[in-house]
Amino acid sequence: MNDFILSGLIFTPLLAALVVLLMPIRLQKPMKAVALLGTLVQMGLAILLYFRFDGAALSNGQQGYQFVEKLNWINFSLGTLGRFQIEYFVGVDGVSISMVLLTGIIGVIGVISSWTIKKNVKGYFLLYLLLMTSVMGCFLALDFFLFYLFFEFMLLPMYFLIGIWGGPKREYAAIKFFIYTLVGSLFILIVMIGLYTSVIDPAATAAQLGLLEKGTAINANAIAQVQQLLQQNTINSAEMVRTFSIPAMMEPANFIPGSLLHVLSGTVLWDLPLRFIAFLLLFAGFAIKVPSVPVHTWLPDAHVEAPTPISVLLAAILLKVGGYGLIRIVYPIFPDAGAYFSVLVGGLGVLSIIYGALCALAMNDLKKLIAYSSVSHMGFVLLGLASLTAEGVNGAIYMMFSHGIISAMLFLVVGVIYDRAHDRMILNFRGLAKRMPAYTTFVVIAFFASLGLPGFSGFISELLVLVGGFSAPEVTGLLPRWLTIVAVFGLLLAAAYYLWALQRMFFGKYWIFPELREKAILTDLNAREYLMLVPLAILALLFGIFPHLLLDKIGVTATGFTELVLQNGQEQLHMVLSSMRR
């Protein structure tokens, strides 16, 4: 059954990167071909995985991973402190399958878009492929340490890709991106260490205790027995096998009694239980990545300075790591705090929706406008997640996928005009529709897809998120209704900034800023650009008209996740608060 397809997904680009590394610098064309091949294989594997993935299999974010690969990586004894264990633990469930598919597709689009890179081709594709490996690793890792490793490793290639191949203010943007994300990962690191001190791996501990014969399969009884012993405080610390496994962290029974992050620990910091602080730290770490207002200001700068393909990757995939982290790690491990802070998370989501949209309205730089629209759209992810309804969470995941496709299209479209005119200020152009009709068609498609026109995938995701948010007070009792009502106005604002941009830049009499006239050669789309835009447009339509293509894969997991988090959340919230009072 297990044919290491996930490892294939992660390491194919790395392999391609090695090949690129060994090639002499002058072989630029073959280098591009190798990069294309690497990402094509990765996409092929992702599509294969999509078809082989059983969407109906029961899973809830805690159990039911498919194609699991679990290898011991680092494992040694710490004496009386138990055993230290890091695993190479990867698997896929409904949440990750959508992201894997997205990463595969965008990876190829990005390479095609990078075809015109001239400066230091070798270094560029090397970093690009490294980035693809680490992103894919992020989406597949089930061991927190492994996840963190990939998460941190994304930073490095990204920093250089912006800092070397970027626009005029690239250094400022790169360092800003770097610092923001690094601060975020520090928060995550702190909590990760905290979790490590608090959680054991029940299966490995059972083996350690001798409850399992060597070589026999793990059975539920042994695990339950270990968990029971653990909660009765009868396991000797030296016998505990500590772990970074995310599924293990999701189960409150795996937390060592008296440890910092145990539900009943009663530890209080600044009048908040330590678990809540941990949630907030993790949330902050991932919110920077999402990005959510008010920690979003790295995004417009990074986008504006990054070269087109890197903007595409950044918007389409890298932002998703934030939302993915919230779904994979933050909520399942701290469901109690998730329930407790739902208004905060949902409120930040709505704030991002409105704030991002209003900022986009004020933009004169087309790329910045789209960057802010990303902030606005990612707000929907937070809102959907905070509602903890089946519709909201499915919608949040759908939004991440759909935004990946549509924002890729948007940034490519900006790249087209930037390539030709070396400028993308809205007010420097007018009436482009007359000169570049095919281009304008794709701009209209991308804009309307992004503003949530039914028929495109964006509509389905916004609909699900909003309906989930709206019904949350009745179903989960989590969010106040006015939040969602405010969020709906984001749809109006989205229409406003896109249509205004269309009006100013593409319609009307043809005109172009005099200083640009000499350099700008406004030819319509070329074959390479069609090759990128057409598939994306088709995908946006496909997933807009047949949402079951994706929902059938993610639905069971997303709903299972929702119910687990909601149920655990309410139980644990009660316990946390009661332990505080004691």
Binding site: K176, I179, P294, T297, P300, Y355, L358, C359, A360, L361, A362, M363, A390, E391, N394, G431, A433, K434, F448, L453, P454, G455, F459, L463, L464, L466, V467, F470, S471, E474, V475, T484, I485, V488, F489, L491, L492, L493, A495, A496, L499, W500, L502, Q503, F506, F507, G508, K509, Y510, F546, P547, H548, L551, D552, G555, V556, A558, T559, T562, E563
Partner: protein, 726 residues
Amino acid sequence: MELTQLLKPLAGTPETTTALVVLLLPLLAFLVLYFFGKRLPRQGDWLAIGVTGVALALSVYLFSQIWNTTTFHSRSIWFSLPSSIVADFTAGVLLDNLTVLMLVIVTFISLLVQLFSVGYMHGDEGYNRYFAYLGLFTFSMLGIVLVDNLLLLFVFWELVGFSSYLLIGFWCDRPTAVAASKKAFLVNRVGDIGLLLGLFAFYTYFRTFDLEVLRTLIGAGEWTANNFILDYTLNGQPWLLELTPLLLTLAGLGLFMGCVGKSAQFPLQIWLPDAMQGPTPVSALIHAATMVAAGVYLLARCYAFFTIDALTVIAIVGAITALIGALAALTQHDIKAVLAFSTISQLGYMVMGMGTGAHDASLFHLTTHAFFKAALFLNAGIIIHAMHHAAHHTHGHDYVNPQDIRNMGGLRKVMPLTFYTYLLAAAALVGLPLFSGFLSKDAILSGSWAWAQTMSANGNSLYFAVPLTGFTVVLLTAFYMGRHMWFMFFGSFRAPFEAQAVRVSAKKEIESVMAVPVVLLAILSLGIFFSLNPLSFNSSWVMRGVGLEALATQGALLSDKLLQAVAARDEVNHTAHLMIGVLSALLGVAGVGLAVGKYKNKPAEALLHEEPRGAFGRISFNHFYLDTFFNTIFVKPALWTATTLYRVDKRVIDFTLNYGSKWLVVLSKIIGWFDRLVVDGTVWLIGALAKVIGRFGRNLQNGKVQSYYAYSLFGFILIILYIVLF
């Protein structure tokens, strides 16, 4: 009652499949024409028209199968979320009287408008694109009327808005057209927000969007003293709903918001006059006959979901819209502006009819209005086309605005066909007896009268303001149409070229491809086609087909009690009916008479330079300054907020960040300084000290016996001193 049972898939029938074919044909035309139209002979207009013709034939077939006989409903699962509290999201086709009536209207008018466009748009560089967009529009509009649930209805609702955006902005190098298309889309989105929230409200409580299931659920519930109570099960889990009237009213008003946007009701009607920037046939199809009627259709489809309070609001909004539209139409000079404001006013009528329980009368008016208003717009198109043509070909007159009725006059002599067809349609709009408009308008007025009587039973006679507004609007309508007709067709021709120039040739007034649709539509403005007795709406087949009885088969309506009472009251209003008919006819004649009386004796010069006069004139001409109002209250503050927030980003968040990092640099400088001076300094000091001590020690050992002797003596003395002293 188990919801999933109610929502189970229903197998398709040949009829529903036919309906799907009708739906998809125009989409096919859109795709083919948009992508390959340039390569087809005649840029594919024959394909678009042929496809619409087939759609019309199939619609007529469906009409014959379904009207007053049976209904069909097919449903399948669109997508599903596995959860115990979510039922499947379904998609399906619902065919009943209302659907097939709308099907025929939409395909028929779409066909005629496309035929007309062959002449009107001849030689336009976006010819194929134009027909493609019309196909997209027809597809979306058919979608609205065919689907069986609110979610899909919203989907097509948005698509209609999108195709309207494309068509208004069809001449995308005209800044006014582009601005108008943006405005139309945005204003419609405001309404759509309400619609969406209404949808969410129904979904939150009833867990489905399916119209029939919603009606069944509502029918199963009952009103207690304060609340609406309903219980059902979903996946075996019991759901007990206790909904306050306020909540239901708000949900209903949310749905109504959609209608306010799309059907140009107060206060969102501001987009419709601007939408006239699109090609005139588009105005005929979309902004007169079909799309703007979608809001009224929505009200009819969701009639069961409105509480009494919601209906009251709807009635009042409709009346206000009817009045404002008519008042604004009084002073317009643009031929299309008059018709646009008249459309707003007539839509107000329909909505008022819906609000006052005259559901059937309102749909009847929708039908008659679709024909006569399309006729008027297409005729206006002919006149604009002719005037433009004439101004262009008689040299040096390009400055003459071909749409300004002040430049026209006496056209009845040179364009007799246009005149007579316009006359027929205008008579229907004014509501003169024997014409279709008379019947439907009369039906609405009677209905609203009965409603006012019922509502004011408790002594509050303010409700009579609604029907009285209706009567006032009859007078106003007659006046502005009289004025309109007088300016265009009577008196003398006022443009600076020969009136004969407006004809295609001495023998031919217009191309026959444009004449045929207009003549057909004008003939359909006669009352006889809608009611065997053209003086009484009681025998109208349309009204009988879409009466409340047809609607209530699935269960009760939320405002059942009121509607029954209104119907009962209407039943016994024999004298009132007669009076209302006579009065509205008299008002119509009086209005026309007043207009003719006012303008008959004015010299051509005065007509050419007529400007709105006085405070009222300016208010009317500027549409009550609603645009200015919205700009100052919403648009400008929104833009101001946008720029301010961006400044917050730059000056607060980034400033803090940059300032913070600057301090970090300063701090690290300080630490660096500390490192160099204190830490390094200490180390250096120790080293230096050792050096000093070492040098001192080295100096001691200079190899001279005298020195060693002196040192030991000195040491000896020190030891002695120590012993002595301590």
